[in-house]
Amino acid sequence: MGDIVIEIDNVSKTFRDFWLKPVVKAVQTLSLEVKRGEVFGLLGPNGSGKSTTIRMLLGLTRPDAGQIRVFGKSPSTSLVRAKIGYLPEQSYLHPFLTARETILYYAGLSNLDRKTAIKRTDELLEMIGLSKVANRRVGDFSKGMSRRVSLASSLVGKPELLILDEPTSGLDPVSTKEVKTLVKALAEGGMTVLTTSHLLADSEDICDRVAILDSGCKIAEGKIGELGQSLEEFFLAKVGNVAEFTLADFLK
């Protein structure tokens, strides 16, 4: 039991309109377990329920049915929140803060004392290669630089569980490789990582196990090598073929 970090047990979530009429069944009877030190990939097409699952894991929304436990507790408790680092799909940074201030802000929210926070911030700035521009406002940063700051912010509290939503989105190939190496290193250090990605090759490189979601349902789960074929072939076989696009008349 102590080795299981995330337990999702028969969880369902339906979004409703103002009159409580169901609009979207985002997640349906989903069950998952993620073990300590594992890199787990949550894969699926747009609208498959990945983001909703992550939001439930972060305690940002509650399931309608079923149970979610992170480190054996409800994800909305502050004890659990202290152990989670989260990198959202886009970098939602405060544009008027500098890179250093941004990381220090999240260090403060993670209850680090001032001295430790400064030390950790300097280390992380060095790690993401932004030490030289640490005092520039993040509002002036490129997408890739903002992404690095977000990644550093998610790591500043030394989380035991790292949730990465499309971690390589917006990064150039060199940075993508660096992130993948970092994730592997973090997992080797004992950190549990849950990641979502549209880039199946990325998942193949870093994940120990994956679950494939489609329309809110889990359609497959297993180790990369155990799924039989390449992840892309398996994914397309399970989720569906690529649409046959025909060139529109106005483009001809």
Partner: protein
């Protein structure tokens, strides 16, 4: 942490700079376009009143907009969710924002109050005392009993709802006119502590706005061995210094030497003023009260922003600010709902509700007192601090944190 974040946001977005510029310009410009009655006192009052009221309006509107937008814009930009998933209490997030916005508001307010203090540095403030009388409500209850016992009062009035009749009678009691006959006199009791009673004093009387009712006024005022004379009234409000050897007094006597009777509302129209501490110290107390008021505005804005989208939250708080200022005037103009239609009755009930909720905000406003050179009493300041800056913001912050829990993303 949210305190420092909000502080940096308000400074770096130039909100603070714009507030300081707007307040400074307003405070400096007012004397150039305000018309006064030509007297030094009148000019002092009008300039103080309009410059401070305008500066407070600028700060209040800025604080309201900034506070309402604070949480709502962070939520819209999805930055709030990154804060909410951290091990920090939602209450501390709300309180941090309220504290930061209040601190920022205190700077332009301090500037406005400093300019006002500089203009009035030569005058000490005064303690103000009104006659000791039964409360308007008590007088209303007494009148109600008398009406009920009076056989000449129509049955229709006797059948009316007691609370409505009491509301009318309370207003009447507050406006109760007392006739001081020609060549006659009247006396009112005052409860003035000894340490104040021996200081320089004056009497302030408000006469009817109608010149015909005050043109023949002539009389003598006596309090604790000191005397003041009132004659040839051209203004509706006059202040007469009491001269002579001071001693502890309890009664203010008015001897009407004029040719016609004089109508006065003792609860509203007669006040004794005793010189107190420096105007500068009084302005410091006023600043504390104003900062407390802004804490209340900020906390209401943060509360709205926790549950509503940015445009709706900003619109709601600006309308609420307007209503909170307008509702006392509406309620005073139409104090009871007996003789008005259903639509007006609903409007009046709404105005009363807004008035009751926002009472602390308007009740403690020190602008009129400062313009009149009256002391902001320490008790008054402490109550403003306790209610406007501590109790209500804390309650609103609790509600804001509950809303944040419900409306997380």
């Amino acid at each position: 942490m949210t305190f420092f974040l909000e502080l940096k946001s308000l400074i770096r977005s130039k909100t603070l700079l714009l507030m300081i510029l707007a307040v400074t310009l307003w405070m400096i410009a007012v004397p150039f376009f305000i018309r006064t009655d030509g007297t030094e006192e009148g000019a002092r009052y009008v300039v103080s009143y309009y410059s401070l009221a305008g500066a407070i309006a600028i700060v209040a509107i800025s604080v309201a907009a900034a506070a309402a937008a604070s949480l709502s814009s962070e939520r819209a930009a999805k930055r709030l969710q990154l804060t909410l998933i951290k091990p920090v209490s939602y209450l501390s997030i709300a309180l941090g924002k309220i504290l930061a916005i209040t601190l920022i508001a205190s700077i332009p307010l301090g500037l406005a109050v400093s300019i006002s203090a500089f203009r009035n540095a030569d005058k000490n403030c005064r303690h103000v005392y009104s006659p000791v009388m039964e409360s308007p409500r008590q007088e209303a209850e007494r009148m109600y009993k008398a009406y009920m016992a009076d056989p000449s009062v129509s049955e229709q009035i006797k059948k009316a709802r007691k609370s409505s009749v009491i509301a009318i009678l309370t207003q009447k009691a507050y406006d109760h006119y007392m006739a001081v006959p020609e060549k006659g006199g009247a006396a009112w009791k005052f409860n003035v502590p000894k340490e104040h009673a021996l200081k320089n004093a004056s009497v302030r009387i408000r006469f009817s706005d109608a010149f015909s009712l005050r043109r023949d006024v002539q009389g003598r005022l006596e309090f604790g061995g000191r005397t003041a004379f009132v004659t040839n009234i051209t203004q509706a409000v006059v202040e007469m210094p009491l001269v002579g050897k001071a001693s502890q007094g309890e009664e203010l006597k008015f001897i009407n030497d004029g040719e016609s009777q004089l109508m006065l509302r003792p609860r509203r129209d007669i006040e004794l003023l005793f010189e107190a501490d420096s105007s500068v110290l009084n302005h410091v107390r006023a600043w504390v009260v104003l900062v407390a008021m802004m804490a209340l505005v900020a906390s209401f804005g943060v509360f709205l922003g926790a549950g509503l989208s940015r445009p709706v939250a900003v619109w709601t708080i600006l309308v609420s600010l307007f209503l909170s200022l307008a509702s006392p005037a509406v309620v005073e103009q139409y104090p009871h709902a007996l003789e008005i239609g259903l639509g007006d009755a609903i409007g009046l009930a709404l105005s009363r509700a807004v008035g009751a909720i926002t009472n602390p905000l308007t009740q403690f406003s020190p602008v009129n007192a400062l313009a009149n050179g009256e002391c902001i009493e320490y008790l008054h300041m402490s109550m403003a601090l306790a209610i406007d800056a501590v109790l209500l913001p804390f309650i609103l912050a609790v509600f804001a944190s509950l809303l944040m829990k419900r409306v997380k993303t």
